[in-house]
Structures are given as structure tokens and as C-alpha cells.
Symmetry: C2
Subunit: 322 residues, 2 copies
């Protein structure tokens, strides 16, 4: 497992238990499913969403027998969307491994994603309240609708900051928000705290995705376990480029991202121009803004270990390099 | 709506109510979703699965406010699998219209299918018991796993009858069985009747799929609203061909379905050879067998309108031509 959580007491044990639920929930006599998923879950990412769900549950009285399966459901959902996204975006690599569709073909990747979605709902139906299952269903619908918006805008570099922010809501912030919300609700945290955690998850999610998009420009490929410049290659315009274009008074960058050339332009040139025009720095300010919003909400919650953990998480995610 | 249900009193009204739930459940501010789904649900098929769910609920005390949404959930699930299946099989036509992926691209088709899946679960979480939501989740997992099996066997014409039957369990019988099961359970039908209906749905589903596969050989394209020979063209070996191969003593058919030639062989020749070798007649006997099993189970249920309806349905599906 990633050592991301090593500074959060008890989290490694908790996430191991979540992994066990994931293994049980995805057990199948089908060899393709078994093969594809065991590999994928062995090379688990940071398990941020289940981790946040567990942190949020600590604001109430968490029953591990209900919280861990729910955390597993969130990770199953996340993994399902990753598999389908990689099919959709034709991304070759995930977690340092060939993406599922590269190894098993697009057909099987669609089915494996559907399988995970159904297991996510199954776990939710078995272990959570109908109300939390409803939150889950609504969140997935919203995520799909927002992804469809994003697909419609592909290869249109005229994207505004506003549109970008709207899109990453669906891509990331909704699921972070959902994780915090259902974790707190399932542990019967006070309603105002639960509501606040929903907003905290949202803001941390926004900051997280902006940093993710920055790392696609500036990151270290070995640390990230994926090539940089990936988004540009698949025609995805993210905040650094949008911010850089706003400073592109001499029109050095603009011609390179016109629809007739983009995304066949030289990727290293795009990366360095975006950096030079201050696109990275400006994007980082947005991430900081969302982190500050999260921290302001966290500050309103009564003192305690749960609060300290959430604060640590928000800060840690802002300065991460992988 | 299809006039398939016209001989079942009250069913047209009930299915109109189900359609209304479907419209509400799939409402979205996203124009692509709105566009794709309104068209798809306007050209509704026979709505067999929701219809069966409603028939099964009549063995208990159905509350329309719970049964109709559950019937809508089953149709949403079915539609989601159709959209993903058409992506997977590259089928160009569905319900006489271009398949969703033909109009909106494969990427959007995957997302629209995911959207429908999530709406299916949302409706289930809102209107049904957790136990029925669990049945739903399990059924979808099983369907995906079985589809993956099917994909692995594509273009391998050595398929046995046993393998074929195993596959159509996942493709059709499970969902028919689920529809009957959850319809009866939600209406609190007696447990033995509910259990019997699960088996009835299964057997009707098996017969239904065999007839469907026969119609791909013998059907009238205008009545079916799709080209015949579709399965062969996409490399899908179904029961008529398997039965014909067992009678192919002079090896007229076998060479045409060897992996190096199939599915590029002449489709009309394959269709007529399958017919001549008795493959259609033999497949029809299998359909009859499953229908008889369903009828034997139905015979065990106490007299009443619900029983008569179920009997009528089983017989009607066996002799259908579209």
C-alpha cells in the first residue's frame, strides 16, 4: 500500500480491512475478472476516497463493520470509473501498469467496469442505509452527466476557467464530497458537521484535481508512475494551459492549440510554454484557494483528533508531488 | 407502445405508468443524455421485463407506488446492458434506430450506459427493500461475468449446446428470473410462490432467448426492425447453428465456420444450410422444452387471474414472430 497515510494513526490497519472487503466483494469465478482485478487492486493507489470516508466517519461513532464496506464501495466505484475512463480516453497506462483495456480489450474493460459498478451497489445495499445508497446513485449519475459534458468539449481549447472548474466537479470533487458525506452520515455525526464535511470533501477534491492536472505538466514520471503530458496528448485542456493562454499576449502558445494542429503539436514545447507563461503558478493559486476554503470549514468544527486529521489531509494533498 | 400486451387486461395502463417513472428517472439537464434517451424510450420495445415483474407482483398484494418504479428499474438496467452490448458487439441497429454508439460515439455510449445503471440503482434504493436491491446488484454482477465468458468464446464455433445454454442464462434468463423474483417479493407473495416464480422467469427467459436467436435466422426483418443474420455477422454462434453442426455429416456447414473464414462466410448460405440441416427445428424443440418447464411450474400455483396471465405469457412468447 502507498505510504501516503503513514502519518495518520490507525489508517493503515483500517485501509487493509477495506482492501479485504474489496477482495471479497470482487471475488468471481470468472478468470478474466479475477485476473484483471487482483492485479489492479494489488497495485492500489493511495486509496484516498476510502481514507477520506473513514476520516469523515470519525466525526461520529463509526461502526467498522459498516464503515469499511462503505469505504470499499467508494473505491469500487472509483475503480470502475477509472477503467471506463481509460477506455474512453484511450489511456495506455494506469498505476504503472497497462490499462485494463490494453490487456483485455475494450469490450472486456467495459464489462469489468460494469461488474465493479454492480458490486459497489451490492456492497452499498448490503451494508449501508437506503439513504446513503441513494446518495451513491445520485453521485454516479451526476458524474456520468458531467463526463459527457467534458467529452463534448474535447479538442476545444477555448475552454474557460469556469468550464474547467465545472468539469472537475464531476470528475473528482463530487466523489470526494460523497465519501465525506456518507462516511459522516453512516457514523451518525451531527447533521451540521455532516453537511460541513460534504463541503470540505468538495473543496479538497477540487484542490486535489487541480494539483493532479498540474502534476501532468510538472511531475516526475517515476514518482507518478505515468507519463507526463498525458492530458494534452488526449486533447484534454486543463487549468495550467487555460491560465497560460490568458497570459499569452504574444500569441506563442495559442497557435499550437488551434483545433487543426492540437493535439499533434509538440508536447514538450506546450509543457514548457505553459510553465513560462505562468500557467502552473496561476493554477497552483486556484488549488490553494480551494484548500483554504476547506481549512476554513474545518476550523468551524469542534476540536478533536478527527478535526486534526482532516486538516492534515487537506494540507498534505496540496503539497504532494505524486 | 408495442401491442404485445393488449390481451393482458390493465397492462397497457400499468406499463404507461412505468414509462412515466422511466422518463422521470432519466431526466437530466445534459443534452446528450436527454436526446439519446428520449429517442430510445420513445421507441420502446415490448417492455417484457417490466411486464413480467408486474405479472409476478399480482401473486401478492402489489402497491403500484413501489411496483412500477421497480419495474422501471428493471427496464433501465436492461436498456443499459443493451447500450453497452451494442458497443461491445459493434451492432449498428437497435429497435429500428441507429444504436446509441453509432449516433453519439462509443465513448458517450459507455457513459450513457453507466448513467442508466446508476439510475436503475437509484430507483431501486428509493423504492424497494434493501433485500431486493441486493438481488439486483447480484444479478448484474452475474450478468457481466457471464458476458465476459461469452466474449472469450467469440469466433470459436466448436461451442456445445451446454455452453450455449450457460451463456443465455447470463444474457437473458437471469434478468427474467430477477424480474419475477423481485416483483413477487416486493408484493409479499407467499415465499413458495415467489421461489416458483423465480424458476418460471428463468425458464421463460431461456425459451425467449432461444426464440430470439431462431428469429435471427428465420425472422422477417420488417417485423423484427433489425437485419437478420446479425449474430453470425458479429461472430456469435447460437443454438440453430450448433444444432445444425451436429447433423452436418457431409461437412457442408463445418468448413464455412472454421475460424479462418468465419464470420466472413456468405451469410445467406449459412442461414439456409442451418435451416436445411434441421438446426432451426431442433432449436425450437429446446425452446418448447423450457416453455413446458415453465408451464409445469405455473400449474402448481393456485388458480387465479395472475396464474392465467403468466400461462398466457409463456405460451405467447413461444409462438411470437417478432
Amino acid at each position: 500500500m502507498s505510504d501516503f497515510w503513514s502519518s495518520f494513526p490507525g489508517m493503515d490497519t483500517a485501509l487493509s480491512a477495506v482492501s479485504e472487503y474489496i477482495r471479497t466483494a470482487t471475488a468471481s469465478s470468472n478468470p478474466i475478472i479475477q485476473d484483471a482485478l487482483s492485479e489492479l487492486f494489488e497495485h492500489q493507489g493511495k486509496m484516498l476516497r476510502p481514507g477520506m470516508l473513514i476520516l469523515a466517519s470519525q466525526f461520529g461513532n463509526p461502526d467498522p463493520k459498516r464503515i469499511y464496506p462503505l469505504a470499499a464501495a467508494i473505491e469500487l466505484l472509483h475503480t470502475a470509473t477509472l477503467i471506463h475512463d481509460d477506455v474512453i480516453d484511450d489511456s495506455p497506462v494506469r498505476r504503472g501498469l497497462p490499462a485494463v483495456h490494453m490487456r483485455y480489450g475494450k469490450k472486456d474493460a467495459v464489462l469489468i467496469g460494469d461488474f465493479l459498478l454492480s458490486r459497489c451497489f451490492l456492497v452499498a445495499a448490503e451494508y449501508t442505509t437506503p439513504q446513503n445508497a441513494i446518495h451513491l446513485g445520485k453521485a454516479i449519475s451526476a458524474i456520468c452527466a458531467m463526463e459527457l459534458d467534458q467529452d463534448a468539449d474535447r479538442f476545444k481549447p477555448s475552454l474557460s476557467v469556469r468550464n474547467y472548474l465545472k468539469k472537475i466537479i464531476g470528475k473528482t470533487a463530487l466523489l470526494f464530497s460523497l465519501a465525506c458525506h456518507v462516511g459522516a452520515a453512516e457514523a451518525k455525526a451531527p447533521p451540521q458537521v455532516t453537511e460541513r464535511l460534504r463541503r470540505i470533501g468538495y473543496n479538497i477534491g477540487m484542490a486535489f484535481q487541480i494539483i493532479d492536472d498540474i502534476l501532468d505538466y510538472t511531475g516526475n514520471e517515476r514518482e507518478l508512475k505515468k507519463p507526463i503530458g498525458n492530458d494534452l496528448r488526449s486533447g484534454l485542456v486543463t487549468l495550467p494551459l487555460i491560465c497560460a493562454l490568458r497570459q499569452d499576449r504574444e500569441e506563442k502558445l495559442l497557435p499550437l492549440v488551434q483545433t487543426d494542429r492540437f493535439p499533434y503539436s509538440d508536447i514538450p514545447t506546450l509543457l514548457s510554454l505553459t510553465q513560462q507563461l505562468g500557467g502552473i503558478a496561476e493554477a497552483r493559486r486556484y488549488a490553494q484557494l480551494y484548500t483554504e476554503r476547506a481549512l476554513r470549514e474545518i476550523a468551524q468544527i469542534p476540536q478533536g483528533v478527527a478535526k486534526q486529521n482532516m486538516e492534515q489531509l487537506a494540507k498534505k494533498l496540496l503539497i504532494r508531488t505524486y
